[in-house]
Structures are given as structure tokens and as C-alpha cells.
Amino acid sequence: MITKRIIPCLDVKNGRVVKGVNFMNLGDVASPVELAKYYSDHGADELVFYDITASAEGRTLFTDILTETAETVFIPLTVGGGINTTADFDRVLKCGADKVSVNSGAIRDPSLVGQAARLYGDQCVVLSVDVKRVDGVFRVFAKGGRENTGMEAIEWIRRCVGEGAGEVVVNSMDTDGVKQGFDLELLEKVCSVVHVPVIASGGAGRIADFITLFQELPGVDAGLAASIFHFGEVRIEDLKKEMQRNGIPARMV
């Protein structure tokens, strides 16, 4: 049976992991390569590298780090941040990324998803969406959650999947950082309209939140989180053991 995936997300700025990392036995905790290797050795099923660099120098540094990671870590690698054109897809795929995640780039140019899917295949194109309730309606936010696009989120996701997005990362801004669990209401709506893998993001605070996610919503394929893994609040090995104990298929390493 296919397993539910657990995915740590690493925000990288100027070649370093941000969002504080608190690990024992790790030489350089802010090194994306070392952290990626650590997670891969400790049960992560996939990694997301998110480039939050603004400068051109930072971009080059990021692709160097990506290359080095892909040379040492042999699990699927998704890259996001600053993906605006198919040339950006090309740039990160050549450095060893397996999938590329688009967010604001797809909002600016809605044809990007379709173009990239035709060039690299649907399985390569991940739609990432920041969603927040505004007056009771799920809205798509752009630019790292700073700008309300006014677009209705479920329709936006359905449209992008129709264009060729092979996977969707749904990040709930309402639950993000609150650590009280994933946004089940939003995720259920998304699962009901798409038939591609859905990755839940935003809200995980403890192991039980992942168990609830997978038990309540069998349509969700993966759970993504950042700081709870980086700070060691949730160890992936413990999480996997608990998933297995609850009858949720998990890959053990």
C-alpha cells in the first residue's frame, strides 16, 4: 500500500536555512545540505527547499546548494520560491530538483502551469497555494501571504490542476503558526475537487495533528511542516512509529 508522506520544508535565504534550527549532533545547523541529509537519514519521505532569497547572488548560491544536496540526498526534492517562468523550472531541474513548486508565479501568469506541464510532465509541476478565510470565503493570497488576490481558492486549485498541476500544496494561513492542527475544513474541500496528490501544510504542532489529518481525511497524501521538525519538537521517527501504531501506512527507515 502506498504510504502517507512526511515532508520537512527548508526555507533557504542566501544559502542558509532560516527559521531557527535546534538539533543535536549536527555540525552546521543552518547548512541546507547537512540538514537535508539529516532528515533523509531520519525518515523524511521527501524534502521541499524554498528559496526566499531576493538577490541574484542569493539565487546562484541557492542553485549551488541544490546541486550539492542532490548529489548527497537520494529522496525526492521539490524546489519552490522565485519560480516565474519555464526558464526557472529549467534552472532548478538541471540542478537535481524532481518537482518544482509554483505559487505567485502562477498567479501572475496563469499559463505557467500549463506550459511547464507540457514541457516537463504533470508530475513535475506542484501548485502551492496560500489560503486564508476572508469574510467566510477561502481566498488565494500572493507574495508570501501579503496580498489578497481576491480569487476564490477552491476554484483556483481546480483550474490549475486542470491545466496540469500534478500535486497541490495547500497552506492554510489561518492555521499556520498556531500549532493547533491542520485546516481540515479547507483540506476536505480541496480533496473533494481534485484527483491529484494533496499535501497539507500549516498548523501541525504535535504528532497527534498528523494522525488526525490522515485519519479524518484519507484523500490527503502528505503532511508538510517546518519549524516543529527544525526545533526537534516532532521527531520524524517518532511520528512514523505513531502513524504505524494507528494503522496509517508509513515508510520506516
Binding site: 500500500m1 502506498i2 504510504t3 508522506r5 533523509s40 519521505d45 542532490a70 548529489e71 548527497t72 537520494f74 529522496i75 525526492p76 531541474l93 538541471k94 540542478c95 537535481g96 524532481d98 510532465g121 508530475q123 500534478g166 500535486e167 484527483h195 491529484v196 496528490p197 497524501d221 502528505a222 515508510r251 520506516m252 527507515v253
Partner: protein, 206 residues
């Protein structure tokens, strides 16, 4: 030396890196001479069957591969490269494969329950069907990473391992010197690297 056959499909960066990680010299090449000099061959591939099969023929590398395979040189296809080892594929029409292995490629659609997503994307546990040098370091239940919408059927005589995805899906095949993995060993963590290691230790068939 392992030659990773480059016929213009897919990204071979990770494959080459994974061989390097296990200390094997690997070269991405389209040069028939280098392919003939190699001890082992990898036939990679992502994308559509028809396009890949055409590129392989247009490059003339299909004949080079056939020659080397007939000499008994170990050859492993990965993902679409594995599918090309079979007689034919029914991906958008009917297309001829290399025919090194008996069987054909059929869509997952129609064979698995509708609630299951296509492609099968993610980690699934291997069920070993037959002992093989390729799986000498692999244990029952080891998970490997899949991304595919089609799979091999009618390949009982080469079947090495399957996974359960609403139906029994061909994961790994091998007969004499010809091997194939539907999954991506280069993306399957230490389990995948052990399969590549085992491939590098297989003997040529005589």
C-alpha cells in the same frame, strides 16, 4: 564503468550522482563506443513511451543496446526505460518496445479502483516474488519511490517484485542479464542505492 544511456529524455543528474554515491564510475553518454566499452548499462527514461521509443530508434542506440544485451551485458531499465524493455506499450495507441522481455505495458486506469490517484506517486512496499541477484540486499517490505501511470503485465517469467496499489503492480523484473525497475532507485534512499549496488555486482550472462 556504468554507461547511463542518454537518448534525450529526462534528467540524468540524480542517476549519475547515485552511482557516484556508491563508489561506481558512471558516465552519461550517447556514444556507441562508450556504451560498448561499459561493463553495465542503464536505460533511463521519463515522459511518453512513443516519444522515447522514437528517440531511441532515431539515435540508432536501440541497435547498440540490442547488440550488447545479446552479448550478455547486464542492462537495467528504470521507469519508462524499464517499460521500453517489453514487447509493446498501449500508452496512447500501440507502440513497439525493444522486446528484450516478454510482456506489455498497460495503463493503471481500469485496473485499479477509481478512488486511487493516477499516477501512483509516492513510496510503496516491495513484495518479493522471486529471488534475484538484483534484490540480494533488498528485504520484503522495503519501500521505494514511484511516479507512473502505466505498468508491465504478462511478465510472469521475469517478475521479481510487485507492490499493492489497488491491484498487484509490477515493480521489478529480471531475466538473465536484463533487469528493470518501475520505481526510481536513485530516489529511493538507501533501499534504492542497495539495488543499484546489487546491479553493479550482477554477472554478465554467457
Amino acid at each position: 564503468m556504468v554507461a547511463i544511456v542518454d537518448y534525450g529524455v529526462g534528467n540524468l543528474f540524480s542517476l549519475r550522482s547515485s552511482f557516484r554515491a556508491i563508489g561506481e564510475e558512471a558516465e552519461v553518454t550517447a556514444d556507441p563506443e562508450r556504451i560498448r566499452q561499459a561493463d553495465r548499462l542503464i536505460l533511463p527514461g521519463v515522459g511518453a513511451f512513443e516519444d522515447a521509443a522514437r528517440k531511441l530508434r532515431q539515435s540508432g542506440l536501440d541497435r547498440v543496446l540490442r547488440g550488447e544485451a545479446e552479448k550478455g551485458k547486464p542492462l537495467m531499465g528504470i521507469c519508462l526505460g524499464m517499460q521500453m524493455l517489453f514487447e509493446r506499450s498501449f500508452e496512447y495507441g500501440e507502440h513497439e518496445g525493444l522486446g528484450f522481455l516478454k510482456g506489455e505495458i498497460r495503463p493503471l486506469a481500469g485496473r485499479i479502483p477509481e478512488k486511487l490517484k493516477i499516477p501512483q506517486m509516492g513510496w510503496n512496499a516491495l513484495e518479493i516474488r522471486r529471488e534475484s541477484p538484483l534484490l540480494k540486499y533488498t528485504r520484503e517490505g522495503d519501500c521505494v519511490y514511484f511516479v507512473h501511470s502505466y505498468s508491465a503485465v504478462g511478465c510472469e517469467d521475469s517478475l521479481l517484485a510487485t507492490v499493492e496499489y489497488g491491484a498487484e503492480i509490477t515493480a521489478c523484473v529480471g531475466k538473465n542479464n536484463i533487469y528493470g525497475c518501475q520505481f526510481h532507485p536513485e530516489k529511493s534512499g538507501s533501499v534504492g542505492l542497495r539495488i543499484l549496488r546489487a546491479f553493479c555486482e550482477t554477472e554478465a550472462a554467457v
